[in-house]
Symmetry: D2
């Protein structure tokens, strides 16, 4: 069985709808490539918010923030002005402080971009790796 298969069955992805505006496009007529990373971030934070953890709660109460350690992204088809996109978040194997997520940017059922983002939970002040707070761990792993 492929490693992703069980995960996919078990863990339905969170999905955020987004509209494409001029500010997201470039003179090539399509969404500028780095803008996808911004879309991915918005989806991750709405996913955390839905789990009960807004950005301010994370930073002020739990004293952690998430930083992106690495990411890889494949751009399959261009998104265009006025498109309604859906950006998904699916959690992979969470470590002590590492939180890898698989994300997709879709238009209807078409996958426009596919990304894997490696997040690290870090102390809000020192930016050093911090254990994922247990209440947050429970909320997102379920």
């Amino acid at each position: 069985m492929r490693p992703g298969a069980a995960l996919q069955a078990r863990e339905p992805a969170f999905s955020l709808p987004l509209r494409v505006y001029y500010q997201d496009t470039d003179a090539g007529g399509v969404v500028y490539h780095s803008r996808y990373l911004d879309f991915l971030e918005r989806a991750r934070y709405e996913w955390l918010r839905e789990a009960g953890f807004g950005l301010r709660k994370l930073a002020e109460e739990l004293k952690v923030i998430f930083v992106v350690r690495s990411l890889s992204i494949e751009f399959r088809r261009p998104a265009r002005l006025d498109d309604l996109l859906h950006v998904t978040v699916r959690l992979d194997q969470v470590g002590r402080s590492r939180v890898p997520v698989a994300q997709e940017v879709k238009r209807d059922h078409e996958v426009l971009a596919q990304a894997r983002v490696e997040l690290a939970c870090v102390d809000v002040l020192t930016l050093k790796p911090a254990s994922l707070p247990s209440e947050l761990r429970r909320a997102i792993i379920g």
Copy 2:
């Protein structure tokens, strides 16, 4: 009677909710000033969409786009990470091709920024001023 008063009574503003993410902030800990212009644009296009005129319909069917001729903005209080903002749009006296709008960025009832944006309706190919299409004019002036 102040010129704005009648308008305000007659024409309730369109309002778009927006969440502030890391991508909107800067190292000063607040929303970066040029980002407000992006917020204003999102609200203007959602206002047009609600009136039945998405960006693609404007460009492909009516052959017009809107460009910003000038704008002035006053930043009163900083917006911060995780804030839920509301961005309003209120139409001012529309000309043949000029569409001036008054916009605000609010957090609850507090006005964080106040802007006046002078839009021009231009031909999608030549970028020359174009008469506001009459169906669009009826839809937004009401």
Copy 3:
């Protein structure tokens, strides 16, 4: 005599060259309007750096940062991909903490955008208005 005339003669503007990349443009084929504000900021900070005041020195040694209180900008002609622009900074009448500047975005001798930006010098921690440090005042007013 016009108020600006003496100033213009006395105070040659600082000018920063900038190249336009895809990241600066939108699907209309021209530079996206809020991007001009980013260009203006880059010119202001290079102007301060040339006067001996880098961003870190301002924040860490002098304990101040500049925030934008208000701005108005007029977009005259579009800048395009690959254009080499020059962004100027000209100081206006400096107050205790207010630093108004006039800025232009030019392509050769053509003015593409003209802006007036009202900066305030604020305490780096409290974000309350702070007197412009005297050494900085001397350096920029000359």
Copy 4:
């Protein structure tokens, strides 16, 4: 011999200096992660320009543009406000239309981020893969 070794010896990297401004940072006090992709793009286009191929020449004369097919990036250390960065470009094995590049974002001799970007040369109108024009091929492969 490591695959990259011969390349590294043969092909010194192009390097673009860049200053970090507020617009590049986020409320975490460091450069926002998607902004690195913008830095990488600026370096790639200055590298092409140095080879004699500005963006307009590519699009208007050679009728091609480059699109990003995929990229992976590792963020090792944060860049901060006011940092002077150097962004490098090193060409990997060029295909018919694929142009893979290895890029780094450095502060002095410290590598802050390391990326591999897979570019595709595409027709400016159809956005379909196009053979890398031979004069461009000669100029960048040398």
